[in-house]
Amino acid sequence: MAANTARSIRADLQIIADMIEPHSRLLDVGCGDGTLLEYLDRHKHVDGRGIEISTEGVDACVSAGLSVIQGNADTDLADYPDQAFDYVVLSQTLQAVQAPKTVLGHLLRIGRRAIVSFPNFAYWRLRWHLAARGRMPVSNSLPYQWYETPNIHFCTIKDFVELCDAMGITIERSISLDHRGTMRRIGSLVFFANLFGEHAVFLLSK
């Protein structure tokens, strides 16, 4: 509710925003500075809440009038009641949690749908970086050295699809983004997306 006018948001956040029905109830886990929550409040009149681990992020969100608590996905999701939200969003955070499978379970317990986005570790540039240089990939979207990265559980699109299968989770929609931000439906073309998708966004239900 800051006075600034609508601004363009990151491509993966735009994809997430487009998946959300107006006037729904939403929890954004790892909401950062509240960009998505603010966009959804402004454009879709969503009743949004957030959880954010960083003090700066929480400060920015609450200062902007958003309802955000300081907390983290590993410890704070267990409190929420079943089916309290229409959507629970976990954007670019799955790889940073202690227990991704447990967190994923909570997302679909708390929300009727979950939206998960993550960097695809099988993206060809990352594969090339590892294969050719023999070192952990560092890129624009994954800028950390291995010894200081908050990202402790990388996965690939294929890994994620298999985990959803194993947990009985339905993939309603799946979209990959290449380094130019071009969107492609993943659908059954997992092999292709896993190679050329730099990021992936999944709409899930149970």
Binding site: D47, V62, G65, S67, I69, Q70, G71, D79, A84
Partner: protein, 392 residues
């Protein structure tokens, strides 16, 4: 009900208090948790700003243990600035040009509201320890009667720190439909064993003073100033942090170059605490200190709701913003987190920020730009949802 504006509180020992005083509970008494009833009892309060046409901009400030209704004006006894002068005023975070700020002296207090220092109408003598033991529920009950009197159906915000924050939680639990937004600061849903222990030290100091006279000092022309000062000194330490004490005083000596090998106040910290104690007794009543600390000890919102704090807030539509401070060891962040977890469990609308600060429990009273900025953002967001006009 009768109201007397800018009217003297009948006090033999002081000049008339500024502000408002109203008699409440004349037609329907306030039933206290202990079973007693208060009939036709006084509540002293102060207001800043003006109530808008649809009465939607009222903010209730709940004061802490040793606070009072003089939030944003010189204190009538000490002449010092209001205890939340940094927060309340034109253009400040609680902007008196936008909001109608109300603060009432709590039941059990000593600045004009019913309490041990006031006259018991049944005996025409000071209540002393014959005043019924009150709870935070009773304090909030009296405030609710005051709102009825003022014709305010719903508060825009209830806000307070420490005991004030406990009242905020009690408000949100007892009268959820009357609270649009709630801001408990440096608070807890119950008093811990450590909290109770510190309070017991303070009470024992007062009751050990022979001038306490079994609580009947007013009618004996005495005052347990020494006991009350010691209580204040002990409590004051708990409001600060080790870091803050070190920064302010270290081991520095008071107006001397070397220790005196005696029990004079050699150290600055001793001198400071003695000063705090002496200043306090001029403006506070020893029996009130007993009653209010007791009320805090009895507070247990979790226990009252079957051991599940979430039950206190089930179905709530109130927007919450919970604050804690990193260096507050009296009401630590962990206690605020319990409140947040309970609110999450009922999918309430809640924000929670732990503010970085070195000033301990008292942080909420001091310069804390981050705290003010975040609170301001929360209030603006809530005001937008409440349909109040934007800040000018």
């Amino acid at each position: 009900m009768t109201v007397t504006h800018s009217h003297a509180t009948e006090r033999k020992d002081a000049r008339p208090l500024p502000g408002h005083r109203v008699k409440l509970g004349a037609d329907r008494p306030l039933r206290l948790d202990c079973g007693a009833e208060l009939h036709d009892f006084p509540v002293a309060y102060q207001t800043y700003g003006s109530l808008n046409r649809d009465k939607s901009n009222a903010v209730l400030v709940c004061h802490a243990l040793t606070g009072d209704q003089f939030v944003a004006e010189p204190h009538p006894v000490t002449g010092k600035p209001g205890w939340w002068d940094l927060m309340v005023g034109p253009g400040k975070t609680l902007d008196t040009e936008r909001y109608f700020i109300i603060c009432a002296n709590i039941v059990g207090g000593c600045m004009g509201t019913a309490g041990p220092k006031e006259i018991d109408p049944a005996t025409n003598k000071r209540w002393g320890v014959d005043f019924p033991v009150i709870t935070i529920g009773d304090m909030v009950g009296a405030q609710a009667l005051l709102l009825d009197h003022l014709g305010i159906e719903q508060l825009f915000v209830v806000i307070g720190g420490s005991l004030g924050g406990m009242q905020v939680l009690q408000w949100a639990a007892a009268f959820p439909e009357r609270v649009f937004a709630a801001v408990p600061i440096a608070a807890a849903a119950h008093h811990t064993a450590q909290n109770i222990a510190f309070h017991e030290v303070g009470r024992q100091a007062i009751m050990a003073d022979p001038d306490w006279c079994g609580g009947d000092y007013e009618n004996n022309g005495k005052h347990p100033h020494r006991g009350l000062a010691v209580a204040r000194m002990a409590a004051h330490i708990t409001y600060l942090s080790e870091t803050a004490l070190h920064r302010k005083f270290g081991r520095r000596l008071q107006d001397r170059k070397a220790v005196t090998y005696g029990f004079d106040a050699d150290f600055q910290v001793e001198s400071y605490l003695r000063h705090q104690g002496i200043m306090f007794v001029d403006r506070f009543d020893a029996n009130s200190y007993l009653y209010i600390t007791r009320a805090m000890d009895y507070f247990d919102l979790t226990g009252e709701h079957g051991g599940v704090l979430a039950n206190a807030f089930r179905g709530t539509k109130t927007r919450f913003c919970v604050f804690s401070f990193t260096s507050d060891w009296l009401f630590p962040t962990e206690e605020s987190r319990k409140i947040v977890h309970a609110l999450n469990a009922v999918a309430a609308n809640v924000s929670f920020v732990e503010i970085e600060s070195e000033d301990g429990h008292d942080s909420f009273l001091l310069e804390a730009p981050e705290f003010h900025r975040v609170l301001n953002g929360f209030l603006n967001g809530a005001a937008e949802h409440r349909g109040l006009p934007r800040a000018g």
